[in-house]
């Protein structure tokens, strides 16, 4: 009966499945920082440099971290069964890495062969992930969180489809839609559909659980992902029939997610746990960044706001969430997997990421909230931001790398006890 109802009690996938994606994501973060350091044309939203850096961040960094998180969370928290996760994760990971690199090269030199490889590899990575996860997600009984994940994965395939159509157009194959509208749709689906919706769904699941907060309002959690999804679909329709409306619809999407940021901050404030660790503050920083992003979008209706400024605050929202999740999940997973295998000397969470280490990374990251304000006006600040970004991602990378090494060390040298736990 239990099986017929589509529920399963899957356990966590091997730790390397998740770490593979997370390590990749932080390396791309470092690469993005280096490119930002040498850039000189990112105030222009149509420049090749802007395209290259945004796609390094969205595909190389965000997609990697988000895939890693989904591989971990879907089985454990939503009861979704993913077959042969190790093999699958390797394929998707490599396709995503090389697809992203080919795309960046294509943006750089416009070579047809790079476009073709980028479309094939990214097409595989994004569609396969979306298809496999959506198919399994359709089988389970839904919570607000899993429904949101389902919708954000569906949006991901739409983002990819629109992206590929645009690449075809760049190759000289004519398309039926205004290129600029297409770009708007690709952008709004990526930003609000895939990234923001996934962050929303993840926070439904983890904010209450990690910090012991009141839950999100039930009705809100139930309808928010769907409402956002419908807004985005409406956006496509308006691109065809009433392009002037697109602006309003996108503003509505911005505001909808802003509601989530406010609700999240309220929940964090009401947490029952007394300890305020770095990850809570990373969440808070991310939500504050989103609210500043919202303010710049609203201001942009009346005055001209530098696009780099708006984009930077959205990036801080997305990246802040990544740091919040990774500093919590990775130390836990290292301990959890070793402990579950019966190793008595499994390193504890603070031995992987000490409170101090995470705090230093937090302070560095939070300085970005101020510094990015000046990047549109000054090359110096732009380089300062890029250096802090590089150090932040390096610290994240190093924490995971050390965790992985401790894991392997204990696997090899640790004492294994029979699973007969002492009672209190």
């Amino acid at each position: 009966m239990f099986n017929n109802s589509g529920l399963s009690m899957e356990q966590a996938p091997p730790i390397k499945v998740v770490l593979r994606f997370f390590l990749t994501g932080s390396v791309f973060g470092i690469i993005a920082g280096i490119m930002l350091f040498f850039s000189n044309d990112i105030n222009n939203i149509y420049s090749a440099q802007t395209l290259i850096i945004t796609h390094t961040l969205t595909l190389g960094v965000m997609a990697s971290f988000m895939f890693g998180a989904l591989f971990q969370m879907l089985p454990v928290l939503a009861g979704v069964h993913i077959k042969a996760p190790v093999k699958l994760s390797i394929r998707i990971n490599y396709a995503l890495i090389f697809g992203t690199l080919f795309l960046l090269l294509a943006f750089y030199n416009g070579a047809v062969i790079n476009y073709i490889f980028a479309m094939a590899l990214l097409g595989f990575a994004l569609f396969a992930t979306s298809y496999i996860m959506v198919r399994q997600l359709l089988k389970i009984k839904h919570s607000a969180s899993s429904k949101g994940m389902l919708l954000s994965l569906l949006t991901l395939s739409l983002v990819a489809i629109f992206g590929i159509i645009m690449l075809l157009e760049r190759l000289g194959i004519p398309i039926w839609l205004n290129y600029l509208h297409l770009k708007e749709i690709h952008f709004s689906f990526g930003v609000f559909g895939w990234i923001a919706m996934l962050i929303i769904s993840v926070s439904f699941q983890v904010i209450e659980m990690f910090y012991v907060t009141p839950p999100y309002p039930k009705i809100y959690a139930k309808y928010m992902p769907l409402a956002l999804f419908l807004l985005l679909l409406l956006n496509i329709l308006s691109a065809f029939f009433a392009p002037k409306l697109m602006h309003f619809i996108q503003t509505a999407a911005v505001l909808a997610v802003a509601v989530h940021a406010v609700l999240t901050l309220m929940r964090l404030k009401q947490k029952k746990r007394a300890v305020t660790d770095a990850t809570i503050l990373f969440w808070a920083l991310a939500m504050v960044s989103y609210l500043i992003f919202t303010a710049t979008c609203i201001a942009n209706l009346f005055i001209t706001v530098p696009p780099l400024l708006t984009a930077s605050f959205f990036a801080l929202f997305a990246l802040g969430t990544v740091f919040a999740m990774v500093y919590k999940i990775v130390p836990f997973l290292v301990w959890f997997h070793l402990n579950a295998q019966g190793y008595f000397d499994a390193p504890m969470m603070h031995e992987i990421a000490s409170a101090k280490y995470a705090r230093i990374n937090l302070y560095l990251f939070s300085s970005l909230l101020i510094l990015v304000i000046f990047t549109s006006f000054s090359k110096f600040f732009c380089q300062l931001v890029s250096i802090i970004l590089i150090i932040s991602f390096f610290m994240l990378f190093y924490m995971m790398y050390r965790g992985w090494h401790k894991y392997l060390y204990v696997l090899k040298n640790g004492k294994k006890f029979e699973f007969n736990m002492p009672n209190l």
């Binding site: 029952k272 579950a340 209190l424």
Partner: protein, 146 residues
């Protein structure tokens, strides 16, 4: 009353007790930590006992299998029990960092465990059991003692 209502209340009560123990440890007050931690551990162990002796057998009756989800749940209970032992030791040694770190792991472990119970096991029991069967089960759980 619904099964989920009864058992979810206990989860929330354990969360509250946990938060108090953690707060005491964060302040470095080990006497208070010990007191609050024992309350939390007792409450949690009693809850586990109710599940293992009353709820899981009933659930296995419904699903006709004893090596499915309930086995995973019992295994996770054992992991939590193991952590309790280590946390008690950390209190004895007055080692704040170790205690807080173990508390963090415990919290994540327990929360994901509770979430699975709430979303899957309890929800299913509520759907399948008759009102009388529910009353009877809750009655038995109320009578369970450590």
């Amino acid at each position: 009353m619904q099964i989920s209502q009864y058992l979810i209340n206990e989860h929330r009560e354990c969360d509250n007790l946990f938060a108090k123990a953690e707060a005491a440890a964060a302040k470095g007050d080990f006497a208070l930590t010990k007191e609050e931690f024992l309350k939390f551990a007792d409450e949690t162990l009693l809850h586990f006992k109710k599940e293992e002796e009353e709820f899981f057998p009933k659930f296995e009756e419904i699903t006709g299998s004893s090596d499915g989800p309930t086995m995973v749940m019992k295994y996770e209970h054992d992991q939590v029990r193991g952590l309790f032992g280590k946390m008690a030791q950390a209190i004895e040694n007055e080692n704040k960092d170790t205690f807080l770190s173990l508390a963090e792991s415990l919290m994540i472990l327990l929360q994901q465990h509770n979430m699975k119970e709430e979303q899957m096991l309890y929800a299913m029991a509520d759907r399948v059991l008759s009102p009388d069967a529910k009353e009877e089960l809750i009655q038995k759980m109320q009578e369970t003692k450590l």
